[in-house]
Assembly symmetry: C2
Homo-oligomer: 476 residues x 2
């Protein structure tokens, strides 16, 4: 009989284990992970870098914000003695929008092409803020109110197109949401995205290119090192890899004590007083719950759709883009396609990915419909498409002088199935309320997408891991 | 080594087994069913009926169309020696729309409240037909064309509200889609619904109250008897119940022969040359495929959301509604709520459910948001709400003189998880094409929602079962 069985050794599950054992070291805990590694949507790889050295890069979750906007992850890093370094933003950024392959250059913290697009962007930001105030800032907000239903009945695309007048802004939001949701705007409920934006404290926190936004900092040693650090502290024997949980059944004994029987695909069973489910939300409904999940939880989890994002890292001897005065940041609608079967070029967002050790690199994102189209291509075809795009942006032969091209198609990773976050289409977010976040039958849900803060981000993952740990400690 | 392993003993899977063994009696076939019964979304129950007798009613799929619109199911019934009887349509129908609890009475085959609403309905039907011609009737239709993307970017609600002028039509379509999709219009992609309507041959085939529509006939002995008849013919030893399939792995031997290893949650393995997956589409992505499903199949299956429909049967000594001149058919927006936490009354559609043996009964549907709200209530609260609604429609005390109240909440049935059909929200249907329906790695998909004819209906289930059988026979 375990005190707690934790399903999923990603950031949420390991945070919960860490906090539980820190506050109650004698708890009997078992962590079951379906994959052969910990970290979930965090993955740090060692790649060949400049000067015949190696360095580490994140192929999954990469950035965090400062401690005033993201207190949970920053506190955890302090406790784990892990450090951060700032994302580079200095230099000219490149913007490519519209049907022609024209580029413009800007150096503000949000993309612009003339005053009109800047005005358009600020009008949209104001509009989003006013809708947020209406939807989320009221005390005792009534569910299923008219506004909630209204914004859950239209797609993000419909919502934005009403308030977006310039091609520049329209292409920019599409690129930004491809990168941060891994989905087309037309696939996502406006209410879901407004909930997401609200959990991040507004559009500027999400998208500004400066150190006060959610992508202001990176973690020295890579984001996955949070998970390996926790594992060192709580001891590896708490963890079992390649254990796919298939069912969770409630057991009530003669004394009326409640526990859960957790079964795996390979036939093992684990009995536990408490269970924490900390897996990507779209996999929760794969587990057979006995008794069944409550109607709203079932609706929510079974409707969650994983985003589709391919992340590409190119390491270089020299940061040629810096020498040319560029920050490395590119916002693009993809530009013209040079690949059969693909309607645009592959990229939506590019960032400088030079490490704290000064190993130069670029990071490219292929998201939403682009990910869908380019996933069907071979690795070589994708690489060629990425290089062609980068050549057209930087207009430099140095693009092809990379040391290594590395890519991660999250959609293909078993038991993850997508990145960076799961989304809801229209008609489901209206059922999201506090009861959805609450435990039931001794089962606690530490799912980043359910967090009230930075849902789907590392901050959200840590927050919901802490919450699950505290719920259990309060009961014991 | 089996020739064929069929996963799921619903109508699709059993049709495939029937056809395979009819044409190749020596095939070694195994059917694995997760539940403890066959029939999937078909369920026929024996209930107390008039004159102290018992009779059978369908709590799941109920109706079929005549053989000119639904040839596959009708041909199967002939081969199985099963008969049909007509749904009763004669008599006055009741319509309740708008905020006030006013009823109007009509006797046409589509609901109307005056000429204006009838004109509105026919304008909408014409508009849907013209969009369908544009979307589906072109040869060599290019995927991701502008129109495909446009109609996949908006919800069914957005699409309809542009072309619906009267409250009558708006309330009627909402009630009709709650019943036939188990979902709110705001949850469904316009393109998905247009594909669905197109597969049924148009709106009138779907919604007309006459014998030439898709709900013209019922099956003597109940719909589930199709499955039990097939099982008698192919022999029960082909079937194993309570076998939950968790993974399908491809095996290639030294001679380069391909087969699949099917694993269950309880540890059994079955090796087969061919596999037919015939389970509800939203459960397909619960199976771990090795190699992974192709990108479009994964996207499609993992995005499918089960509808939410509660079906209610009330049996009576006398068909009091017939005596009052009513057909028993009611179309309603739910009317005022008498139940705390519910925004409207429970029902969307009511039909006469009197059997071929003349056992009087009414059938009520609680769908979409109503199902969501009323699922949270107790059975007694739901029964009371249904009775209050029926009393207000028929204005008769006889409503409460029922013999038995029986309900089926499909959402709560393990390994079904919803009814009558799974739907897609915006942004996914654009990837639906013939390659999505094709087998891969020896795995065939007999999923009614993938059928080109009457998707999600018994007709679609039979069609895709026949298709999977023929695909395999062509290979052998």
């Amino acid at each position: 009989m375990y005190d707690v069985v934790i399903i999923g050794a990603g950031l949420s599950g390991l945070t919960a284990a860490f906090r539980l054992l820190q506050l109650k070291p004698n708890l009997k805990i078992k962590i079951l992970e379906a994959k052969d590694r910990v970290g979930g949507r965090l993955l740090t790889l060692e790649l060949p870098a400049a000067n015949n050295s190696v360095d580490v890069w994140d192929l999954g979750g990469t950035w965090i914000g400062n401690k005033s906007i993201q207190p949970f992850i920053n506190q955890l890093l302090i406790e784990l003695n892990l450090k951060t370094y700032p994302q580079k933003f200095e230099g000219n950024k490149i913007l490519q929008i519209g049907k022609k392959n024209k580029h413009s250059i800007y150096d503000s913290h949000i993309p612009k092409k003339g005053l009109l697009s800047l005005y358009d962007a600020f009008t949209l930001i104001k509009h989003v803020e006013s809708v947020q105030t209406k939807l989320f800032k009221k005390e005792n907000q009534k569910q299923n109110s008219h506004d909630v239903e209204l914004y859950d009945s239209i797609t993000l695309d419909n919502f934005l197109s009403e308030k977006t007048w310039t091609q520049c802004l329209s292409d920019c939001t599409r690129a930004a949401f491809r990168a941060c949701l891994g989905a087309e705007q037309s696939k996502v409920s406006a209410l879901y995205c407004l909930t997401y934006i609200n959990s991040c404290g507004g559009l500027l926190n999400l998208f500004s290119s400066n150190s006060s936004s959610g992508h202001g900092y990176r973690i020295i040693g890579g984001a996955q090192s949070i998970c390996s650090r926790i594992l060192e502290i709580i001891r590896e024997d708490k963890l079992e890899l390649q254990k796919v949980v298939t069912s969770i059944e409630e057991i009530v004994n003669m004394k009326d004590d409640r526990s859960s029987l957790v079964r795996t695909a390979t036939g093992e069973t684990y009995q536990a007083k408490n269970v924490i489910v900390s897996i990507p939300p779209h996999f929760v409904s794969n587990i057979h719950f006995q008794p069944a999940l409550s109607p709203s939880k079932f609706e929510y989890f079974s409707s969650m759709m994983p985003g589709h994002l391919i992340k590409v890292i190119l390491t270089y001897e020299n940061a040629f883009w810096t020498e040319m005065g560029f920050s490395g940041e590119i916002v693009t609608n993809g530009g013209p396609s040079h690949t059969s079967g693909c309607t645009s070029g592959p990229l939506c967002i590019v960032f400088d990915a030079t490490t704290n050790n000064n190993s130069p690199a670029l990071l490219g994102l292929i998201g939403g419909n682009q990910a869908f189209e380019y996933e069907k291509k071979t690795k070589n075809e994708r690489k060629e498409a990425v290089l062609k795009s980068l050549e057209s942006f930087f207009n430099s032969k140095d693009v092809r002088n990379f040391i290594v091209y590395c890519e991660k198609i999250w959609r293909q990773e078993s038991y993850v199935g997508g990145c960076p976050v799961s989304v809801l289409s229209t008609g489901v977010t209206r059922y999201l309320d506090d009861s959805l976040r609450a435990p039931e039958h001794g089962i606690h849900f530490a799912v980043s997408e359910l967090s009230k803060q930075w849902m789907g981000f590392m901050e959200g993952a840590v927050e919901c891991g802490e919450k699950a740990a505290l719920e259990i400690l309060a009961e014991i």
